[in-house]
Amino acid sequence: MRSTSGTISTTTSLPDERPFLRQLATVRWALLISALLISLIGLVTVHSASSELSIDYLPRQAVWLGLGLLVFVVAFTLDYQFLTKFSLPIYTVAMLLLLLVLLVGKEAGGARSWLGVGAYRLQPSEFAKIATALLLARYLAGINRRFLSFGQIMAASSMVALPMVLVALESDLGGAAMFVPMLAGMLVVAGVPWRYFAVGAAVAIVLAAVGWNLVMLDYQKDRVRTFISPGSDPQGTGYQLRQSKIAVGSGQLYGRGYQQGTQSQLRFLPARHTDFIFAVLAEEWGFIGVATVLLLYALYILNGTKVALRARDRVGILLIVGLLSGFAFHVLYNTAMVVGLVPITGIPLPFLSYGGSFTLANFIAAGLILGVDFRRHVNR
């Protein structure tokens, strides 16, 4: 594909005269298609998961999906170079919103992370992640070196530390933790000497110890404790873990059939339409369904990586790496949590879980990634 910018283009027509539509056609739409396929599976699963609830979340999620497509177009249209140029003001606004949540936020599910806008509730931490990715991309792109220095790593880390602390103060530890893989992915690609990884691991351990003693709330500690010994609390968090594994396992190879999962239909599963939606899917569609959805996620990441590989500048590459790293970690952590590989925390599944802000944020990210792809020839 890189050959298009080579010999053929110069002989046929000037880059500026390239028809807009033809250029649009070269964008890696496979990424959007896998996102939409996952979203459709999500709609169907949200419907099944909420059939025992007082409200069916399918129409609401359909609205969010529609809005998602809208913000995708906006994000796709906006020039990422322009956005990264103004990433500092964007970042500042995002931080102010996080502060606002701390002051007037609404509480839901043990975390005070919601901002009421009329009848709607928004979770600014989702947008703060994108803002932070923009700022980090700009900062790291400007460092035109093979490896980052220690000071540069610290500077980048502190850009992430601020929103992380603010989100952690909202008692949304899962949300706060999701900044880390984004930062890590971007640092790795931007170039971190191996010795700093050792230092980073040590710092992480110290931070974990400090966090356990000073930051984490009792219910959060319980989750970790029951993960380490699931039998200790069969009625509480251990119960959720156990019920989720039963749901997943009972799906077997072919699943129990749509809306036939007893674990979800009889409400044994917690948070069925949000954090544990993958367990519903696993129960009803079996390993076949699980493998299909995991494949779609892999395709999304694969296509995203392809876009990064042919992006025209460092900013574009780093932005995509940041967005994809966060995305991949969401998928990996949530699915691992559902089969009891990692402690339970409130991390939803992109495009699949019910959730407004999260869906919007993921479509913005998709729009930004494909926007990078659309602009790979500009000013060449």
């Binding site: 093979r146 997943v248 396992g249």
Partner: protein
């Protein structure tokens, strides 16, 4: 536009490596799903099924018990029980204090029931209160959302309509013991009620029926969603007894404030018409599983109210035993019925003075008069001539010293003493003087009131005995005795005189219009040196009074045996009840007789 030569190559080199790591993690997760879903899928499917399916017992209603003429004696009434599931309780203390307020029952009792049922760690609901009133049920149900750990369960409570009146015959229920549960074949579950005494115990299996089961699908809060399968309960079989409630009630009334036993049976079939033991108890308290204090009080009561004196207590037969003596003497040809013996109020045998109950003596006395007036001296001599071996032989022949085979459990066999028994059990030789005591029904010989009733049936039937039974059934188990009918006819004539002749000791049982025949008996509880009126002694030392009898009117017959503990002489203490029972049992005959 400022064009900077950028170093992209490093980034583009590292990116695929990051991607590789991510895809590796994806494969790991997929492998984990494969393991959980495909390798261990069966295990989790079974857990899912256990999650949603609850097996609820369907209690089989216990069979009803009827008396004669279809009169209901034991039934099942609906009852509301409160169960507590500790595994669903967030705050057990709060729940208990809530129950305390609703039920007006001290929390300590509720807690005791909880602890006995398995305590706070139990995973199955524990019965903590029974027989709730409608308002109590309402108070609990209203707070169902706040206290999901409580469940009101509709159960059945056994109700004995006549309470203490039929207590010993019908028996009562109790929670199944660990021992009964230990057997693998047992279909019983912990907490089940089973028959513990009387008819409820003896006929437990047929009365019990078989519990069914209902499999229901529940949601995560245990709420019923739909039925999944059902195995219906099989009701217990109803049971008809030959018990005549009127006789039973009359006998129970007679024994108010007294101790003793009364049994009435149809000598032709062996069907028990009345079986009363006093003092009695209220069997309905056992239908509730929780009233342990009442249970303890009954067990520890000195007068032994739980004992069924008709089959479980043994007494000296006293003069009633003279019937056996007469049968032995006549059969063995030892006595000529026409020959007389001199009674001067006492006689000397084996260098000892033996007193007749009548200080003035009976003068010249034959067998007929000796039975009628219960002369002791006549039977002292008869005993001496028969010897203990022959007395024992005829005693056993007539049903003493062995169970009658009644269809109830726990029957005692009594004791027919002989030299062999003395050597084996006492380690002492048999003293000839003891034979003289046994001859008038004193000494070591012991009988149950039912054995005496069986003996009277043999006399009434002139030669055969029937196995007594409480169940109303057409099958009659007869046992032909070797004692010949003329012997019983001779004795029967004397027994008729006891009641109907001048100077008969049983005149208190006389019922004009029907033929009552009987024998009084008085058992000395403490050996007296001289003639002392029993009424002058303290209660515990007073004599037991016997009256053993049968009556015939038309084609109906009835045997009545009455024993009043410490009641004094049988003629005054026991005979009047026999009279009343005959009046009731033969009232149709008597009414017709008067009108014609």
């Amino acid at each position: 536009m400022r064009q900077v030569r950028e170093h992209k190559e490093d980034l583009l080199q590292r990116l695929p490596r990051l991607q590789l790591v991510l895809f590796g993690l994806f494969l790991l997760i997929a492998a984990r799903f494969w393991f959980v879903q495909v390798v261990s899928g069966d295990y989790y499917l079974e857990l899912a099924e256990n999650n949603r399916v609850r097996e609820l017992p369907l209690k089989a209603p216990r069979g009803l018990i009827y008396g004669r003429q279809g009169r209901l004696l034991a039934e099942n009434v609906p009852s509301y029980n409160l169960k507590l599931d500790p595994s669903r309780s967030q705050d057990l203390e709060k729940a208990l204090s809530f129950a305390e307020r609703c039920l007006n029952q001290p929390a300590t009792e509720l807690r005791q029931a909880l602890d006995e049922g398995g305590g706070a760690g139990s995973f199955r609901p524990i019965l903590i209160a029974e027989a709730l009133s409608h308002s109590e049920v309402a108070a609990i149900e209203v707070a169902a959302l706040e206290f999901p750990e409580f469940a009101v369960e509709v159960g059945h409570l056994r109700l004995y309509r006549n309470g203490p009146i039929t207590a010993h015959t019908l028996g009562y229920l109790g929670e199944v013991s660990q021992l009964d549960l230990a057997s693998d074949a047992s279909p019983l579950k912990p907490g089940d009620l089973v028959g513990r005494k009387g008819v409820e115990l003896a006929f437990d299996e047929s009365l019990r029926g078989a519990d069914g089961q209902r499999a229901v699908i529940v949601d995560s809060r245990g709420r019923f969603k739909e039925e999944y399968g059902r195995e219906p309960a099989q009701s217990g079989q109803n049971l008809n007894l030959g018990l005549d409630l009127d006789l039973q009630q009359e006998a129970a009334r007679y024994f108010e404030g007294k101790a003793g036993a009364a049994v009435a049976l149809d000598p032709a079939t062996g069907e028990i018409r009345a079986m009363v033991s006093a003092p009695s108890y209220n069997p309905n308290i056992f239908s509730r599983r929780l009233d342990r204090d009442a249970w303890r009080n009954l067990i520890e009561a000195p007068e032994d109210p739980l004992q069924n004196r008709v089959i479980q207590n043994t007494y000296s037969p006293g003069s009633v035993f003279k019937i056996v003596m007469a049968a032995a003497g006549l059969s063995e040809g030892v006595i000529d019925p026409e020959q007389t013996v001199w009674c001067g109020g006492a006689t000397k045998i084996y260098n000892r003075r033996w007193r007749c109950w009548k200080q003035a003596g009976h003068g010249h006395i034959s067998l007929h008069r000796a039975i009628k007036e219960s002369c002791d001296v006549y039977f002292y001599h008869l005993g001496q001539e028969l010897g203990i071996e022959r007395i024992a032989k005829y005693s056993r022949q007539l049903g003493l010293g062995r169970p009658t085979g009644i269809d109830l459990l726990g029957e005692r066999e009594g004791l027919v003493p002989d030299p062999d028994w003395s050597a084996r059990r006492r380690g002492t030789p048999w003293y000839p003087g003891e034979t003289i005591s046994v001859a008038i029904g004193q000494g070591p010989i012991l009988v149950t009131p039912l054995q005496i009733a069986s003996l009277m049936a043999a006399v009434a039937n002139s030669g055969y005995q029937v196995r007594p039974h409480v169940e109303e059934s057409p099958s009659v188990e007869k046992e032909q005795l070797t004692v010949e009918p003329w012997v019983f006819e001779r004795i029967g004539a004397a027994l008729w005189s006891v009641v109907n002749d001048q100077r008969g000791t049983g005149s208190a049982a006389r019922v004009p219009g029907i033929d009552v025949a009987g024998k009084t008996g008085t058992v000395q509880v403490v050996q007296q040196k001289t003639w002392i009126k029993s009424e002058d002694l303290p209660y515990e030392q007073r004599d037991h009074g016997w009256f053993a009898s049968y009556a015939t009117a038309g084609d109906k017959q009835l045997v009545v045996v009455v024993l009043v503990e410490h009641g004094g002489h049988g003629s005054t203490a026991a005979a009047p009840l026999a009279k009343r029972l005959y009046e009731i049992y033969f009232r149709d005959y008597l009414d017709n007789d008067q009108s014609s």
